[in-house]
Symmetry: C2
Subunit: 683 residues, 2 copies
């Protein structure tokens, strides 16, 4: 039974390392995700394999790519529906599905999420009874929905959006208007070619001329029979992008476009027929905050998706490194994975992928459970504390993980050298698609500030000796902030410094030190006469930003260690502890400056121990790397790279790629232009 | 006159910063490059503008891109010829031409360099009288040449190439043979579709079965009338790549292909008619070294090209940051360039671009002058010392500058946020094309080792108190290594730490410290029983690699300061000193660990001063950033980005881009598939 669930990998050049692994890969794989999830993923892969829409195709033009992605969205919708109830039964399936979706086609995974999840969710969250029919239409494939918040001139600063919805007493509806091109809605996925309806964020004006701030409207923008824009609507596609070209991102301009009163999603605020604004919220800011909360799930999901990108890149780079040979002692060539330099280029990122995996499974499960319970009317008692802490976690984890992923993909591209520069190696498209994760759902630097702003509030509490506690366990140790800050580096061997508890201890010191120094820098800046705006902004580099990153790294390691402690197999435990230590020390090494500045480290020894430990861990993990990849890699069907397949037959696949590439072996049809071109020159 | 040479920029949103600049941009621009070079560049740009082949086009398929690049290569060939004699008159024109070529079309610049420069140069360097006709044929456009060294299975380890050339006494020629796919020649530019001839590196076997090592052969591979491969030749294209898709990189397989004896480029070695190997070199290794020397120019040229990529990215990111507004104090929106976080994301890279510019102009001029003098029979007296030192410099500068450039382009992509993800923003293509620089002409990590291996030899000389001196001035201070190592950090203000002399002094300490600790680690490793192979390889991370980087950064700053000292204008001097300090301290900040480990820094103060200085310099430079860009940016014609034009009219250009994009405003022709797709689903 197990055998079928996790069959042997095909024999080939990777056997060398598979035979050297220190642990049983099946045990680790089933420790990461239970058999039910492995089966669920296998089942989806079989569905994809069985449907020609999901088979790889040669797509040369943007239009080809778009058409293919639309087709896949349609097919994938059924697939998701098919699985939907199953996913609610076991919420671990949600991130599992997300991972496969990214591996299958990142553009389609986004399109799917927007049309089938985000658009209906927002309507459900912010609309009322009368809007539910709109959701039905999406499920029936009659409407396609998109989400329009960003404008050409404003993205991060959402409050400054300039699209207007003015209530018109005469027609008892709203006049939607875009004052100029800079106020055009843009970037909305599906808006470019597919959407018939849009959720539009607009400044609501009542007839008395009062602006009530940003509200959400559902607006039909295209004729559902002809797909032509309605009169008064200018809608277009944003054209080719760096990546994610299957998504038709669009822009939208209203020219005094009339919609009915029902267009307003009116759960939190409404305008009555007479044009009077009514809301249960007294504070416009709070109402706005409540409505934006619907967006906060995104960041948690994105960390899971970023790890899927990272894992895909790792699979390619690690398997290639295990097969590619170059130089060697005594004239015998060795795989490049044997070189310390190369281990250091790959294995810390492998350690990251495992850290993120356990972290991400943990927070996704918590967040999705909370969400489903909410839907069922069971709000958690600690909802407020949970909300704040999860906001802090999610605002830090998207930047930390997406940056680490991009850094890794850039490193992998280079680590796969010349052949890694071929499109067929798969790393280029991966990087170009993945890149967007640093920007959408909140620009990384801006998000980081959310977390550090929240954390900075704890410093006075630490000084006052207050107990600090949160439902997610990410801040509890701050209660001991003063003792932690008094800690000094106190080990003198690599064996000691790689112990999980000691790594967490060093990280705790780093977080509290950065909390203290960021807080003090901010206060000093205020005292020097700067206003809060500038004091905050000039406190980011080296301070608040580092704080947010250190806080999140500590938290991810904390979660990782809790999971390690659930392991029963000593070999699995051993390899996970090495991964834990490698991620912990590799990231800590980047903060050597702070560790010395704050006096936790003194003299040559501490940094040397950290570095020696990182290199030792790389060496210790190199024989396990291939089997570790086997535990987290996508099915071969989803690995679009001649380098990354589980049989390791890199050169065979490359040969097929080159010899079989359409047109690779024939003269271009413009060959005559190449010859005697001198006679044709126009100069 | 000056006015015409450097006309005013068009008015627009960038005026705000242009008016705030602390210096006269024309003075700085003419200090960087004399009027003659500015005029030369303007002239080339006018030629490009006047030739429709170089005008931007919509190219959707790989075939379109290839055809366009071939056409441009042909047109550009004349352009280069036209300028060629002029370039020899003033060698500063060589890097100036290279810069424009990258800005115009990176693929074409590579194709041009391979066919018109590398192929004929190698024939001239390694061939004899009888081969000169081949060069003529290229100039006449009858032959197209490429350069085949790399094989599928071997790149960096050139000695392991497995293509064979066996002398056959009967036919008095060589039998070229590729034993298997892993020995296929690959990656050669122009080989895929264009080349009629190839320089092929093959193991030379004489009839007695002796292998004489790698030799170079000129082999015709395609019929010059039909462009079809000759019988016995399998040649194909490698298909789509991450970037540089205008280049037709190819692969080549010989099936016992017969060539005449003349195919061997026989300056350094020959096989006589009877099949006896004759060479003036006794040592096969030395002969090989002498023949490879022809490749070493490449790295120096690449640093200049990398800086062109960096400048293009900076132009886009800085001009956009000066125009894009978001948030602000007191409700007034401010350009994002006003934010310290954003300054820190861009300005250190701007400082890098200036550092690299002065460095690169210096070494290019030295190298090209030496080359031309050699051609004219005037060998420099210090040729050997020069050769070694330039090898050390060039092997470090390609890694340092290409890595910094890639890091910068990744940062710029994110710093331009959503709109930066559009293809029309120009950063994606830039990054994808630029990426190859980290790999070709020597993989960066491997190159770095060349430099550190060379540097490590100086440590015993330092200990012995020997005078160390080189013609390029990059190592002279090592003579004082012992005193330098005894130095301690000894300033206590930002004003003091930003002084150029002090930055160089800190860097000198860092280089000597890394030299000492790398040397000692290597010796320790040998004593522990490791052989030299492993001792060397396990000495790279944190040690030898950092040494090579620090050495090069110090050297670039040394050159930069020498140039600064030639400035007569105090304002120009002032802004250059800030750029110097910012690059110096920004890169030094990354070595905080080493600075503390080695005891040069102690306590909180030193690191804090470095960080405070970096932030202060960012703030001091932000009003100058736009004018600094104006001094180094490409002409608007060469800036393929709606964000980067000199008028700063970002939104106007974006609007034209979106509204004018072909097909952006129309329904896709597969629109019916979008509707009621449910009925069409195959599931």
């Amino acid at each position: 039974m197990k055998k079928q669930l996790l069959p042997n990998f095909p024999p080939g050049p990777l056997d060398r390392y598979r035979n050297l692994a220190s642990f049983d890969w099946r045990k680790l794989k089933l420790f990461i995700e239970p058999a039910e999830i492995v089966e669920f993923k296998n089942e989806i892969v079989e569905l994809l394999k069985g449907n020609p829409a999901f088979h790889p195709k040669k797509l040369e033009t943007l239009d080809d790519v778009r058409r293919d992605a639309s087709l896949q969205m349609h097919e994938g919708f059924y697939l998701q529906e098919f699985k939907y109830l199953g996913m609610l039964d076991n919420l671990r399936k949600v991130p599992a599905f997300g991972e496969i979706a990214v591996w299958s086609n990142p553009s389609v995974s986004v399109k799917n999420a927007l049309n089938n999840s985000m658009y209906p969710s927002v309507i459900r969250a912010l609309g009322t009874e009368k809007h539910l029919d709109l959701i039905e239409k999406v499920w029936q494939g009659e409407h396609f929905g998109c989400f329009c918040l960003t404008e050409i001139g404003h993205g991060t600063d959402t409050k400054r959006m300039r699209t207007r919805a003015t209530y018109d007493k005469e027609s008892k509806g709203f006049i939607m208007h875009t004052p100029d091109f800079e106020a055009a809605k843009c970037w909305a996925g599906l808006l470019g070619q597919t959407a018939t309806h849009a959720i539009v964020y607009a400044q609501l004006y009542t007839p008395d001329g009062t602006c009530h701030g940003l509200h959400q409207f559902v607006v039909q923008i295209r004729d559902v029979k002809t797909m032509q824009p309605l009169p008064g609507i200018t809608v277009g596609d944003m054209g080719p992008k760096i990546g994610l070209n299957g998504i038709d991102n669009g822009f939208l301009i209203f020219n005094n476009f009339h919609v009915s009163r029902d267009a307003l999603l009116n759960k939190n605020a409404d305008v009555n027929e007479e044009g009077v604004y009514v809301t249960p919220f007294k504070d416009a800011n709070k109402r706005f905050g409540a409505s934006l909360a619907a967006l906060s799930d995104g960041r948690i999901n994105i960390t899971n998706l970023c790890n899927a990108y990272l894992i895909q890149g790792l699979t390619i780079a690690v398997r290639y490194a295990a097969v590619r040979k170059q130089f060697g002692p005594d004239g015998n060539e060795i795989p490049i994975l044997e070189y310390q330099t190369h281990q250091h280029r790959l294995l810390p990122y492998l350690a990251g992928a495992f850290t993120f995996k356990f972290f991400s499974l943990h927070v996704c499960l918590e967040q999705h459970t909370t969400f489903v319970n909410n839907l069922n009317g069971k709000q958690r008692e600690d909802a407020v504390e949970y909300g704040f802490e999860m906001h802090g976690i999610s605002s830090a984890c998207k930047p930390v993980i997406s940056w680490f992923m991009m850094e890794a993909l850039n490193e992998f591209r280079q680590a796969c050298a010349g052949h890694g520069y071929l499109k067929a190696a798969g790393i280029g498209d991966l990087r170009n698609d993945a890149d967007a994760n640093c920007t959408y759902e909140g620009e990384n630097h801006v998000l980081n500030q959310q977390t550090s702003n929240w954390l900075l509030k704890f410093w006075p509490q630490i000084l006052e000796g207050k107990i600090i506690k949160g439902p997610m366990e990410s801040i509890d140790y701050l209660s001991h902030g003063k003792e932690i800050l008094a800690d000094k580096f106190a080990v003198d061997s690599v064996e000691h410094i790689i112990r999980p508890e000691y790594i967490l201890r060093m990280y705790k010191w780093l977080v509290v030190y950065l909390l203290k120094s960021s807080y003090e820098k901010y206060e000093r800046s205020l005292k020097e006469g700067n206003d809060a705006f500038w004091a905050k902004n000039n406190n980011q580099v080296y301070y608040a930003r580092s704080l947010s990153v250190a806080y999140l790294n500590h938290y991810m390691l904390h979660i990782f260690l809790k999971r390690i402690n659930e392991t029963e197999d000593p070999k699995v435990r051993n390899v996970l502890e090495r991964l834990f230590a490698l991620y912990g020390l590799f990231t800590l090494e980047r903060s050597l400056g702070h560790l010395y500045q704050g006096g936790f480290f003194v003299g040559e020894k501490p940094a040397t121990l950290v570095q020696d430990a990182v290199l030792k861990l790389c060496g210790d993990l190199k024989n396990d790397a291939v089997s570790l990849i086997d535990c987290i890699a996508a099915d071969d069907f989803l690995i679009k790279s001649f380098m990354g397949k589980s049989d390791g037959k890199v050169y065979e696949h490359l040969q097929n790629e080159l010899m079989g590439g359409e047109g690779n072996m024939s003269r271009p049809n413009w060959w005559k232009e190449v010859l005697h071109w001198g006679k044709q020159s126009k100069l």
